[in-house]
């Protein structure tokens, strides 16, 4: 296992800048999720590390080695492709054993290794089948087995769960996490699914438009997003963003004054914030006229079973609020939402988070 380093990596396809100077340091043994919307350059970043594409500029290091100009096979990595990329003419056993066979490992040793990995992934009974005789989930396991059969410097996975049905995805999510923890492998895991990223990774790197937005542990990505993009991309439903105006004694949202501690107000004023961000679970529904409550009307009510999502139209825009499972309300009814302003974060006009939420431990 080794660390991985992207050093000012740029990738252009003609006039299209897919990666604009990507700097990313992944320490040894880390499970890093590369998270971003479709088309933001995640796959490109992974392929460049694998050596399948060449960077237009910048350098790549695996451990101490500069691998920028090396062939894929000299980089000592293993990759799981979105489409699994199994070898169609080979049996499952041959597929798994291929990376070993190509390195000239003796037959007996290789067989033992194949059996070992197959047992871990519970595909021992499939070794003589061909890929096309397998289900999607089984192919996925074979692709994983082929990757872990060796002890590479790093694992690269490109949306390995995206071709599975929802249920299987849930199971495999847990299994891949367990597997990678067990192996202590340096892993770059590409996904556009924020739940996958948050649940599996030690660190999440959020990308957008070919640029790294933030790299932090999942909890920080969620609680302390670096900017408006991260705040709204992560979380389901996304963080509510409302325009905010600064007054002498406090702030106002959609014309309604909201009390705020003096120190926080000073910070907001210093940073010239323009927007407030609030997670749905940090807001609650209330009756109109309550102090510090923003008045509005119910736009739509979505019962989720364990809770109810209430979308409320406020003066400054719509917000989603998580309410209890017993919530009842008619569309168009008057309602109000309240929140604790210490749970809010504030963005400046550049979209950067200027004032973070106050942590529960009272930072």
């Amino acid at each position: 296992m080794s660390s991985v380093l992207y050093q000012s990596v740029v990738k252009n396809y003609g006039a299209l800048n897919v990666l604009r100077s990507l700097d990313l340091a992944v320490p040894d043994h880390m499970f890093l999720a590369l998270l971003g919307p479709s088309g933001c350059g995640k796959t490109t970043a992974l392929r460049i590390l694998a050596g399948l594409d060449m960077p237009s500029a910048g350098k790549l290091f695996i451990g101490e080695r500069d691998v920028t100009r090396l062939q894929p096979r000299d980089r000592d990595i293993a990759m799981v492709f979105q489409s699994y990329a199994l070898y169609p003419q080979m049996t499952v056993g041959e597929n798994i054993g291929y990376p070993l066979w190509i390195r000239g490992m003796p037959d007996a040793e290789r067989r033992a290794k194949i059996d070992e990995v197959a047992a871990v992934l519970e595909i021992g009974h499939l070794l003589d089948r061909r890929p096309r005789q397998l289900s999607g989930g089984q192919r996925q396991r074979v692709a994983l087995a082929r990757a872990i059969v060796r002890d590479p410097a790093a694992f690269l996975m490109d949306e390995p769960l995206s071709n599975l049905d929802a249920r299987l995805r849930l199971t495999m999510r847990g299994e891949i996490k367990r597997l990678c923890q067990r192996l202590g492998a340096t892993t770059l895991y590409v996904t556009h699914d924020q739940v996958e990223a948050l649940t599996m990774a030690d660190f999440v790197a959020v990308m957008h438009g070919g640029e790294l937005q933030q790299m932090a542990p999942p909890a920080d990505i969620y609680d302390r997003p670096a900017n408006r993009f991260v705040a709204t991309f992560v979380g389901n439903p996304p963080m509510n963003i409302l325009p905010v105006t600064l007054a002498e004694q406090g702030i106002a949202i959609g014309g309604t004054p909201v009390a705020i501690p003096a120190a926080r107000l000073a910070a907001c004023r210093a940073a010239q914030v323009v927007e407030i961000g609030l997670r749905p679970e940090d807001m609650s529904v209330s009756v109109p006229g309550a102090p510090n409550a923003l008045p509005g009307e119910i736009y739509v009510v979505e019962p989720m079973g364990n809770e109810t999502l209430v979308n409320v139209r406020l003066g400054g825009g719509n917000v989603s609020v998580r309410a209890g499972r017993d919530f009842r309300g008619a569309v168009g009814a008057n309602i109000a939402v309240t929140f604790d302003v210490s749970n809010a974060c504030f963005f400046n006009s550049a979209g950067l988070t200027a004032v973070h939420r106050v942590n529960s431990d009272g930072e």
């Binding site: 399948l52 293993a78 492709f81 169609p88 080979m90 390195r103």
Partner: protein, 302 residues
């Protein structure tokens, strides 16, 4: 009155009898043409193969005698052997060359489209024209090879006068003309392969040669088999080029079964015997095609 006339005609047209007959009526012209140009000649050929002709008319009905005689006719056996050699050599070289060219043309570089187009030109030239051009190249007195040889200080180059060289010259001609077909089929096959497994193999540690041996070739086997079967069947019937280039000579060196059959029918006027010969060749090619298709199915199933 006119009105009632059209109505009654319409009524008759909608009658049940015509409804049933209409599809056959519409098929009839096509069916007649097929019967006339395909089924009848085949049937006539089969019938002719059981008879002996003299000066164009039947003199005896000999049953299977013509077929039996074939297998003790040294000239037929020799022509069969020459044909097998010719087909095996040509098709092998065409497959290897075509595959190599297809692999090369799979890459993207400047001028690749032009190159692909140029490569398929030989295939679209009329075979007889190709043969005439090759005769001009091979001719010992004023041919291109002789010209080059003399320019380099050598003497005349004898190609068509020597049995071995004439045979090789014929193979070269066929390879030149038909490698493009192999190339085209194999290029299409290569282009239709999924490319993720190839990237996976490179990451897994395979170099170019291993990628070819472990992935490209196994994945291309069905396409390769189809191309080879097609070319083999086609090569068995090669006639025009040989007829123009050597007429089967010198001696019997390039006398393929097609040429021998032609000679038998039109030079020696043994129409019945020639018919039996061609029916036999047809059956051989048919058997070849069947076994090839079965082989393909097995490759596919495994």
């Amino acid at each position: 009155m006119a009105n009632s006339g059209t109505q009654s005609r319409k009524y008759r047209l909608q009658g049940a009898g015509l409804d049933l007959a209409l599809p056959y009526l519409m098929l009839a012209p096509g069916l007649l043409i097929v019967l006339g140009v395909l089924v009848y000649p085949l049937w006539d050929g089969l019938r002719a193969s059981t008879k002996v002709y003299r000066y164009g008319s039947v003199v005896a009905d000999v049953g299977m005698q013509n077929y039996i005689k074939l297998w003790s006719d040294p000239q037929f056996l020799n022509s069969l052997w020459v044909t097998v050699e010719f087909v095996a050599l040509s098709v092998t070289f065409e497959a290897i060359l075509g595959f190599a060219l297809a692999l090369f043309c799979l890459r993207e570089f400047r001028g690749i489209r032009l190159l692909r187009t140029i490569l398929i030109i030989p295939m679209v030239i009329t075979p007889v024209v190709v043969a005439i051009v090759f005769r001009l190249i091979y001719a010992s007195d004023a041919g291109m090879l002789t010209a080059i040889s003399e320019w380099m200080g050598g003497g005349q180059v004898q190609i068509l006068g020597s049995p071995v060289k004439a045979f090789i010259g014929l193979v070269v001609l066929d390879v030149w003309e038909w490698t493009p077909l192999m190339f085209l089929i194999l290029l299409a096959g290569l282009q239709s392969l999924p490319h993720e497994p190839f990237e996976a193999a490179r990451v897994d540690g395979a170099g170019n040669w291993r990628v070819f041996a472990d992935l490209t070739f196994p994945m291309m086997r069905p396409v390769l088999a189809i191309a080879i079967v097609l070319r083999t069947i086609d090569a068995f019937g090669t006639f025009d080029q040989v007829f123009v280039l050597t007429r089967g000579g010198p001696g019997e060196a390039t006398r393929l079964v097609s040429i021998y059959g032609y000679d038998t029918a039109f030079k020696f006027q043994q129409t019945g015997y020639a018919a039996a010969l061609f029916v036999t060749i047809g059956l051989v090619v048919l058997a070849l095609a069947f076994s090839a298709v079965r082989l393909l199915r097995r490759v596919d199933a495994s």
